[in-house]
Amino acid sequence: MNKKDIIICRCEDISLADIHKCLEDGYTTFEELKRILRVGMGPCQGQTCSILIRREIANYFDKKVEDVVVHKTRPLIAGVKLKDIADQADE
């Protein structure tokens, strides 16, 4: 299957080819890929792509997956409407 047709990040439509291009360009970590491609920053916050991308990084640099640093996680765990937060805010 063509690498361009294999979707790794569903939130941002990033393909396996995009990931490989970034690694070939010299980027080495999930955090770097995240900034260039937006992977891990969409509505799922990396819950789909994180392990797939770490595996690609591991393969590319001939490392173990567990040695590839997990990207920084930030709140929120799931999307919440701003209005719902505002309505129940303290003060």
Binding site: Y27, T28, T29, E31, E32, R35, I36, R38, M41, G42, P43, Q45, R74, P75, L76, G79, V80, K81, L82, K83, I85, A86, A89, D90, E91
Partner: protein
């Protein structure tokens, strides 16, 4: 031992732009060092807005010249990806007579140097952003050439253009010390090597003070956490950035479709903290629902924090140091280093190459803080 013409500390937008301009002007051996990777600090955490509506003359000029560069950056830097540059304006809301008076003064200043800003009534503002709550403000100012550019890609564009010109980059390498002999820069010591150089540029963003200390220079800046949130992407509903200093908000829909918004925390203490807090989420949600109720229907998907490197007058320090030959600094942007990057690179390269500086640039020298001298204070900051 490695011997180079200049060492730039920090691979954020200021360092990358400085390296590019120096190389473009013919300097050959330039190294950019970062303890992490490009845009890993404040640049990669910023709000991505670029504006020219400022309250001090220096900031207005810096902003105008930077926007002029952004307008041509895609071609000049021969960058292949889309920089996501858009000029759909900044609409700045006023909420009181005093603020309106201040804005009238600002617009006069901006116009005097050729920035196309103007004052707007509530009705005129609603024509620009129809979903504004008309009860949340009393008047506004608008500049249609302000806008947005992608900070990651803009940085990458400078990085790749510098690379083509021969700039060397050392990532995941930390500067540990700056070697000074007889008030002159002699070298830089990292955790991996010793480099001989007569020129050091401090473009360390949130860590500018520490990189000043390494050379024995006291830079009057500190870092402060500013939080941001982003929503899920949606169809285009808002062109301009909407901003209010008195309500403490900036909010823009980026070309990608998501809304980015931030506010400052009046209780933030100087520190390198960049964590996220529930209080920010509460206050931000309430403020945006008041001003832009339509945006309140969107889901927040992520929050984050980044450092403002704050100077005493909220204007940057783009400067040499008269008591330390070879030391240059670009810091203290007070939250606006990304949007001033092109002119930062230009000015630092002019200083290093001994080109004649324009008068406004001389006022950005660090010596303005000597003897508690009164400087022009920038109030237009969120």
């Amino acid at each position: 031992m490695n011997k180079v013409d200049a060492v730039i500390i920090g691979a954020g937008i200021s360092g990358l732009a400085t390296a590019y301009f120096l190389a473009k002007k013919g300097m050959t051996d330039i190294i950019v060092i970062d303890k992490s990777f490009i845009t890993s600090g404040s640049t990669g955490r910023c709000g991505a807005g670029v504006r020219q509506q400022w309250g001090t003359k220096s900031n207005c000029i810096l902003a105008k010249k930077s926007i002029e560069f952004f307008e041509t950056a895609q071609e000049v830097l021969e960058y292949e990806k889309d920089l996501e540059f858009k000029q759909e304006g900044y609409l700045i809301l006023s909420t009181s007579k005093e603020e309106d008076k201040e804005f009238a003064k600002n617009v006069k200043l901006q116009k005097s140097i050729g920035i196309p800003s103007r004052r707007c009534t509530i009705e005129e503002a609603l024509e620009i952003v129809p979903h504004l709550n008309p009860k949340s403000f009393t008047s506004a100012t608008f500049c249609n050439t302000d806008g947005h550019i992608n900070p990651f890609l803009m940085s990458e564009a400078f990085y790749l253009a510098g690379k083509k010109l021969g700039v060397k980059y050392c990532f995941y390498e930390e500067v540990k010390d700056i070697i000074v002999i007889d008030n002159e820069i002699c070298g830089v010591l990292t955790d991996k090597q010793k480099i001989q150089t007569k020129i050091v540029v401090n473009a360390a963003g949130g860590f500018a003070k520490e990189v000043g200390d390494m050379a024995g220079i006291d830079i009057p800046v500190y870092s402060e956490n500013h939080e941001i949130l982003v929503t899920e992407p949606t169809r285009k509903i808002q062109g301009p950035m909407v901003m209010s200093f008195s309500k403490n908000i900036y909010c823009q829909q980026v070309p990608h479709g998501s809304f980015l918004m931030g506010r400052s925390n009046p209780e933030a203490k100087p520190s390198h903290d960049i964590s996220s807090s529930w209080k920010f989420l509460d206050h931000m949600s309430k403020t945006v629902c008041d001003i832009l109720p339509e945006v309140g229907k969107l889901r927040v998907i992520r929050t984050w924090g980044g450092s403002y490197n704050v100077s005493p007058d909220h204007q940057p320090i783009i400067s040499n140091h008269e008591e330390l030959k070879g030391y240059y600094m670009a810091c203290g942007y007070s939250g606006h280093g990304f949007m001033f990057a092109p002119i930062t690179g230009e000015l630092i390269s002019q200083m290093i190459l001994k080109e004649e500086l324009e008068d406004y640039a001389k006022e950005l020298n660090i010596k303005r803080f000597k003897d508690n001298r009164i400087t022009d204070f920038e109030k237009s900051v969120v």
